[in-house]
Symmetry: C2
């Protein structure tokens, strides 16, 4: 038995959408009592930290409906069925920025919000970036503006909360720790 | 108008739970087309990086139902209505570990998964930790085991994916960058 395992007594499917599904479980706790758990299921995501040859970082600004504002983030996207995370990384990099990477290196992976969601985020460092002439286009409902900035400029964006999400704050701290 | 703003044409409430609510919006895109957006709403969360006087980090292991496994994480919890993030930080630290902090310092904040959720995570560094005799107890449906470890041990846990969530991976990288 896994530590503190919560056995499912009953699972109710609430929603089955394009990005997420939601189910609510009645669970048996280690003390014999019961509780309810809300579980948002997601296929996983991949993000790329693209560093240009001059040391600047390639970021994308897009509107985030749940926040009702736009954020500046590292390129990222949903892991599609049957896709390896490295493929997703290169696909999203190309679709969102028009670049491909000569070097792709795994940095880390983490669950974004394990209390209520199973989204697993893979993060890669991309170097030797090359602009593609006829780059693949992204989803037709995505509107994206590309930004290139130094690490100091990115740090300013964190302070102004223009960069304000887990994967991008992690990415900037990671690059700072490398001393890039 | 905000950059690339997506105007809500219609919002359908799907679920109203204890931790999250879910609504699905039909939105008007900048190009005049429409799309659907799935929005998980959350009241926000606060996490604490508790560093003991000997430099070890205080962590908690608990079962995470959406992942069907337990994870080792920094102490954290939901921001309750009317509560300032600093209060949540000290409350969760006490409830989950039995410690309080003489020093509490804001580190950063970030949205955990802005593509589908509005959960905002605040992170604090806690020092001058003192064990409380009659510490307040946490939620009765939370089962938690306290772990103390060095940064090297925490790094090993990241490699074994026992530590595997955004706030904790960020916290360990943050402590490494401080050279604690």
């Amino acid at each position: 038995m896994k530590k503190f395992e919560e056995k499912t007594l009953h699972s109710q499917s609430i929603y089955d959408g394009k990005i997420i599904t939601l189910h609510v479980d009645d669970v048996l706790l280690p003390n014999g009592k019961t509780a309810q758990r809300e579980c948002v299921m997601h296929s996983g995501a991949v993000a790329v930290i693209p560093v240009l040859n001059d040391g600047k970082v390639l970021l994308v600004e897009q509107y985030r409906k749940p926040l009702e504002t736009s954020l500046i983030e590292i390129p990222a996207g949903k892991l599609e069925q049957g896709e390896a995370p490295e493929e997703t990384a290169l696909r999203e990099l190309e679709e969102e920025t028009g670049y491909t990477a000569g070097q792709l290196e795994f940095v880390t992976s983490f669950y974004t919000s394990p209390g209520f969601a199973n989204e697993l985020m893979y993060i890669y460092l991309a170097k030797d970036l090359v602009k593609i002439e006829d780059a693949a286009e992204g989803d037709e409902d995505e509107f994206i503006e590309i930004k290139t900035m130094t690490l100091d400029e990115a740090q300013e964006c964190i302070e102004k909360q223009l960069i304000h999400d887990a994967k991008t704050n992690y990415a900037i701290l990671y690059l700072q720790s490398l001393g890039i």
